[in-house]
């Protein structure tokens, strides 16, 4: 840690600590999860960036969606995202969450994931290599620094829109809305 960073730490502890302590919950969809074990173990070692896999969404602040999203897996993805404490960031891996990728005309695959939950960044590729994941992480750092990684604020502001998109797929959802517009929302 150099001296310029120390000043930054004192000025904006929220941003700095969120940058250097990304606890990740992985959602193992599709082929991208294959790239995660090498990137968190000895070969590429994500822990040196403060990136650490955790077991439950309550402890996480980064959500990695690693591949195509089928109709069935979108439901747990939404519930996992809503259980994470704010501020939270979402990054989607591969081409499929961007526009469907090779599954764009499949009958049970989502084409645009960011219609249903807000995505802060995509790492393109089919599949992205661990180096690309690290580039994505460092890019997420700059986004957090500039205040552009504001997916969770967008989700709060435009919750009705996201919720209606989700309900267009499933009909009535079996869990209550996360934000009701009242003051006691957490």
């Amino acid at each position: 840690m150099d001296r310029r960073q120390l000043v930054k730490w004192l000025k904006e502890p929220l941003k700095m600590s969120n940058k250097y302590s990304l606890h990740v919950v992985y959602f193992c969809t599709g082929c991208g999860i294959i790239e995660i074990p090498p990137s968190i173990t000895a070969r590429w070692d994500a822990e040196r960036f403060g990136v650490k896999p955790v077991a439950t969404p309550r402890q996480a602040n980064l959500f990695l969606i690693t591949g195509y999203v089928s109709l069935k897996t979108l439901k747990p993805i939404i519930r996992t995202y809503e259980q994470m404490p704010e501020p939270k960031y979402t990054v989607a891996l591969g081409s499929c969450p961007i526009d469907g990728g090779m599954y764009w005309d499949s009958y049970n695959t989502i084409n645009h994931l960011d219609k249903y939950i807000p995505i802060d960044g995509y790492i393109a590729g089919c599949m992205p290599r661990p180096e690309a994941i690290f580039t994505g992480i460092t890019h997420l750092w700059t986004l957090i620094d500039e205040g552009k990684a504001d997916g969770y604020e967008r989700y709060r502001e435009r919750y009705q829109e996201y919720r209606s998109n989700q309900e267009r797929l499933y009909g009535q959802l079996e869990w209550p809305p996360l934000y009701t517009g009242r003051d006691d929302d957490v």
């Binding site: 600590s17 173990t41 000895a42 403060g50 309550r58 402890q59 602040n61 404490p85």
Partner: protein, 313 residues
């Protein structure tokens, strides 16, 4: 003397929290080096702590909050009975018997809090933690009984005092036998790798910590660091002579001596803790029945032999 007591009351929890967090960071770094990784920065737990306190985490009810408070305050009260170098604010009263009782409170607080979380993984984690406690406490009580009967006192202060005069217990006959028994069960007391059945992230989603996020997770992490510190510090006090130097060397008197004593104590804690980290880096997790089978096997037998030898001599 009163100034010493006040200093102990103020500083020993601060020292313990900071050391516990630093040791957590050091253990992550050490495990990384064993696995030929670069590893996180040494201060990573502090960075995590800052982040966790800024997060907006939901509570699950009042018992959920108060259980955590019970757990953390149990750890802090336990610390006040445990000498850290020459700082020992409540070390005079109760001694080892109080420590035996108070060591149960932190896991019970977590269990109370977890009940409100209503997550099935929490109940599995709590039951595993109590099972593990049953496993190691047999040996722990045998070890404490041998130490108490060898020195004819229940006061942990007098045990430390006697060792500064007659040498460390770990290197003296017959207390070396209970010392080895304590070393064998220490990974279970700390809850590190071969015995982390209660908080296994891969099996039961980190067990009793499954519902904690944000500041709750921060308090749980601090409590975990404290209980690791307590497990090691008890060993250092009972078997490595607390703040005393080996052999004929003595610390200078006065404030400098107190400062050096605390530093020496923390160096000993760091050394013993790093032995446990090496064990945790090398061995995979046991199943819960395997852990209890191990704990009721050789360590309990060695502890029993130690008690008998101490009583017989």
């Amino acid at each position: 003397m009163v100034a010493m007591k006040v200093a102990g009351l103020v500083f020993s929890p601060i020292i313990a929290v900071l050391t516990g967090l630093l040791l957590t960071g050091a253990s992550r770094k050490m495990v990384a080096r064993v696995e030929w990784r670069y590893g996180p920065p040494l201060l990573q737990p502090f960075i995590d702590m800052v982040k966790l306190f800024f997060q907006r985490a939901p509570s699950h009810g009042e018992v959920f909050d108060y259980g955590l408070v019970i757990s953390l305050s149990g750890s802090i009260v336990l610390l006040l009975f445990l000498p850290i170098g020459h700082l020992c604010p409540l070390g005079g009263g109760g001694g080892l018997l109080v420590i035996i009782y108070l060591m149960l409170i932190p896991p019970l607080g977590i269990a109370t809090s977890g009940g409100e979380g209503a997550n099935p993984y929490i109940s599995i984690g709590v039951s595993r933690k109590l099972m593990l406690g049953l496993g190691y406490e047999v040996t722990l009580i045998l070890v404490l009984l041998s130490v108490m009967s060898e020195y004819n006192t229940i006061s942990i202060l007098k045990v430390v005092q006697a060792q500064s005069e007659s040498g460390w217990s770990l290197f003296s006959w017959p207390l070396v036998i209970p010392g080895i028994a304590y070393l064998l069960i220490m990974p279970a007391i700390l809850g590190v790798k071969p015995f982390d059945v209660a908080s296994a992230p891969q099996e039961i989603s980190s067990g009793s910590h499954a519902e904690y996020g944000g500041k709750y997770l921060a308090f749980v992490t601090v409590g975990g660091g404290l209980s690791e510190f307590i497990g090691v510090a008890l060993f250092v006090n009972l078997f490595l002579g607390g703040p005393s130097l080996p052999g004929a060397f003595t610390l200078p008197a006065g404030a400098l001596g107190v400062f050096l004593g605390v530093i020496l104590f923390l160096v000993k804690v760091a050394f013993v803790f790093s032995l446990n980290v090496m064990v945790s880096a090398l061995f995979p997790r046991l199943r819960v029945e395997g852990a209890v089978k191990y704990l009721w096997g050789w360590p309990a037998l060695i502890g029993l032999i130690g008690t008998i030898v101490v009583w017989a001599l």
